[in-house]
């Protein structure tokens, strides 16, 4: 039974049904009474319900017929680790941006990501990554701050 359940949560139809059901439910729960305010989101939510029921029904049939497709198996670990590490970099970036400002955070994000994604790191690579990050930030600074007057977030510490 556990093996079958494991198969079920790796079946894309089941997960699609579940995700669309959750989104539709959130949308419906948040709805109020005035029909003209809510008719449109409710129409979208009910369309999502129909889709989710179809996918859940399809996966239930596969479940009982023992032909679930485990097309969501995680695959290789390295790419997943890369995506996770990059996502962590981006979230750290948001914190650094708050404390040290936009340009320091951006410089660190680009530099750290390039160094992390390079297979064989040496001093030359680290230097090149830093140079790329500095050039990207200078170009962004000139284009966005001086040509298009975009006031980027400033540091809350410095």
């Amino acid at each position: 039974m556990t093996a079958k359940f494991k198969q079920l949560i790796q079946d894309s139809d089941f997960v699609t049904g579940l995700v669309t059901f959750i989104v539709a439910n959130i949308a419906e729960q948040g709805a109020g009474n005035d029909i003209k305010d809510w008719i449109f989101p409710l129409m979208a939510a009910h369309t999502l319900y129909v889709c989710s029921l179809f996918f859940l029904f399809k996966s239930a049939i596969k479940f009982f017929r023992n032909n679930l497709v485990t097309d969501l198996n995680p695959g290789e670990l390295r790419p997943i680790r890369d995506v996770t590490v990059f996502s962590v970099f981006v979230f750290i970036y948001l914190f650094i941006m708050y404390y040290f400002g936009f340009y320091v955070a951006s410089l660190l994000l680009i530099w750290a990501s390039v160094v992390y994604f390079t297979e064989e790191v040496d001093v030359k690579i680290v230097g090149k990554a830093l140079l790329t990050a500095i050039i990207a930030c200078i170009v962004a600074y000139v284009v966005f701050t001086h040509v298009f007057y975009v006031p980027f977030p400033k540091s809350h510490l410095l």
Binding site: S12, V15, T16, V19, T20, V23, A24, A27, G30, G32, D34, K36, D37, W38, I39, F40, P41, A44, A45, T47, L48, C51, S52, F54, F55, L72, R78, P79, I80, D82, V83, F86, S87, V90, Y93, L94, M97, S106, L109, I110, S113, V114, F117, T118, E119, T132, A136, A140, V143, F144, V147, F148, Y149, V150, P151, F152, P153
Partner: protein
């Protein structure tokens, strides 16, 4: 009109228009900078110029941004502005197949032709076109939105239901914020920043750019570049001849773009989507659409560029701007004491026509500037993925922030992006989600207004009556049936 042409081809007009075009190239290429923002920033610089030169410069920026937004759409699957979303559907697969130069050339040449067609409509057909546009009320806009929504059948990949679910998610995201009926807060969960709604640009960057960056990262240990760079000799000429050999395709896309451009509030994104849908419906071989068919790129680019000059038609005939950049140009005229509208034709007819000619010439200049810049821009795909992925994320963050100078938009963009990346693994295509998000703000207000009106004159009379409504409903039904029949045929052929 001849005097206006002489004005438009004077060296000073062409010089200022070219400066506007160069700026438009930057504005369109960078996600987060829109044509509206670019024209608004340029207005103060035009005060030192003659009125005609000033609006020629603003017009040049606007039409070039409508071309250059196709460059990031094709190269990295991130539309520079919402108008290039449909361009990405085929433009990026073309780049992945090593046909980057062909994709950019097709986008550039189509944009130039589209701009010239739109400008010709402005010069010759302004009054008859605007009289049809005036017949569009909320019910007609609602059906136009529904008709544009039928494209999800094409964009859904293997499962239409996943496309439908994706579009519903996009429509739901577009509902966040203050409602159109009674100004009620919807899905804001007491977060003040959500009251203004989700920024369209930030959401589109989230839907397209973030999943693209994360997908690049998934594959960067195996592939070093986005795609191979294979510049073929003679590809530019071949692509141009290819576009010219399809006059009906061109006329259909340009006519759709010009007409939708006139409708205030509809604009270039809808024009591109409807044109893409129609190109697909009228095509004999539909199998390559969404997989790298050059007709997908040209249909979208011709229409979104034709819509730009056409958006000026209601401005000069009625005083109602057809798009946001047209509204900025209206503001620039008013600051000089000129009132856009029918009076302007009588008091300053030469200025009105010289602007039309400037837009026409801008089409030609955009082609040359685009072709000069294209070989350099295509080389973006030669940047290794380990460098390109963080740089795109950096641009995505700037783009999401710059549109409203709000860090919260960056959080939203990242949240939407990660959600879209995860559901991409389930077989969801980003197209329908983006489509739902673009069409939501057009369909919903029209629906609400139409419901209020139908309270007085009857639902059936208002929603289903009138020639335009009937035509749009029929087109929507035909569009849905075409998709189902072609899928059925494909299924039968594979069995």
């Amino acid at each position: 009109m001849f005097e206006a042409l002489l004005m438009a081809i004077s060296p000073s007009y062409i010089m200022y228009m070219t400066i506007g075009i160069m700026l438009g190239l930057v504005v369109g290429t960078l996600p987060g900078l829109t044509a509206t923002m670019g024209t608004a920033l340029l207005v103060p610089f035009t005060f030192a110029l003659d009125t005609g030169e000033g609006i020629a410069m603003l017009g040049g920026l606007y039409v070039c941004a409508m071309f250059s937004d196709a460059i990031p759409a094709c190269l990295v699957n991130t539309p520079g502005t919402p108008a290039a979303m449909a361009t990405a559907f085929d433009g990026h697969p073309m780049v992945k197949q090593g046909r980057g130069q062909e994709a950019i050339t097709a986008a550039c040449f189509s944009s130039a032709l589209g701009t010239m067609f739109g400008a010709a409509c402005y010069l010759l057909l302004a009054w008859p076109m605007v009289s049809i546009a005036l017949k569009f009320g909320p019910a007609e806009f609602f059906w136009l939105g529904i008709f544009a929504l039928t494209i999800i059948g094409t964009l859904s990949g293997d499962s239409i239901l996943k496309g439908l679910a994706g579009a519903s998610i996009g429509l739901l995201i577009s509902c966040i914020g203050i409602s159109h009926a009674t100004e009620l807060n919807r899905y804001t969960y007491d977060i003040p920043q959500l009251r203004g709604g989700v920024s369209l640009v930030a959401a589109l960057i989230g839907v397209f750019a973030v999943p693209q960056v994360l997908s690049m990262i998934l594959g960067l240990r195996k592939e070093e570049y986005v795609a191979e760079y294979k510049p073929e000799p003679g590809v530019i000429l071949k692509t141009i001849i290819g576009v010219l050999k399809k006059p009906i395709h061109f006329l259909r896309s340009a006519a759709i773009g010009s007409f939708i451009g006139i409708l205030p509030g509809a604009g270039s994104p809808i024009a591109a989507i409807v044109s893409y849908n129609e190109a697909l419906r009228w095509s004999k071989d539909k199998s390559q659409y969404g997989k790298g068919d050059v007709r997908g790129v040209t249909a979208s680019e011709i229409a979104n560029n034709a819509a730009a000059p056409a958006a000026m038609i209601p401005l000069v005939t009625l005083g109602v701007p057809g798009s946001s950049p047209a509204a900025v140009i209206a503001g620039a005229l008013m600051l000089r004491g000129l009132n856009p509208g029918p009076e302007l034709f009588q008091t300053d007819g030469t200025l009105v026509y010289s602007f039309g000619w400037s837009l026409f010439i801008a089409g030609i200049v955009v082609f040359f500037v685009g072709m000069l810049a294209a070989p350099l821009l295509v080389r973006v795909i030669k940047i290794p993925l380990r460098l390109l992925a963080p740089l795109i994320m950096f641009l995505a963050i700037i783009g999401a922030y710059a549109i409203r100078n709000n860090v919260f938009d960056v959080y939203l963009m990242l949240g939407i992006g990660i959600f879209c990346f995860l559901i991409r693994r389930l077989g969801f295509h980003p197209g329908p989600i983006g489509l739902g998000f673009i069409l939501g703000p057009i369909i919903e207000p029209s629906l609400v207004q139409a419901l209020y009106i139908s309270d007085a004159i009857g639902f059936q009379n208002y929603f289903l009556g009138g020639v335009i409504n009937k035509v749009l409903i029929a087109l929507s039904i035909i569009s849905v049936l075409t998709v189902f029949l072609s899928r059925l045929r494909t299924k039968k052929a594979t069995v």
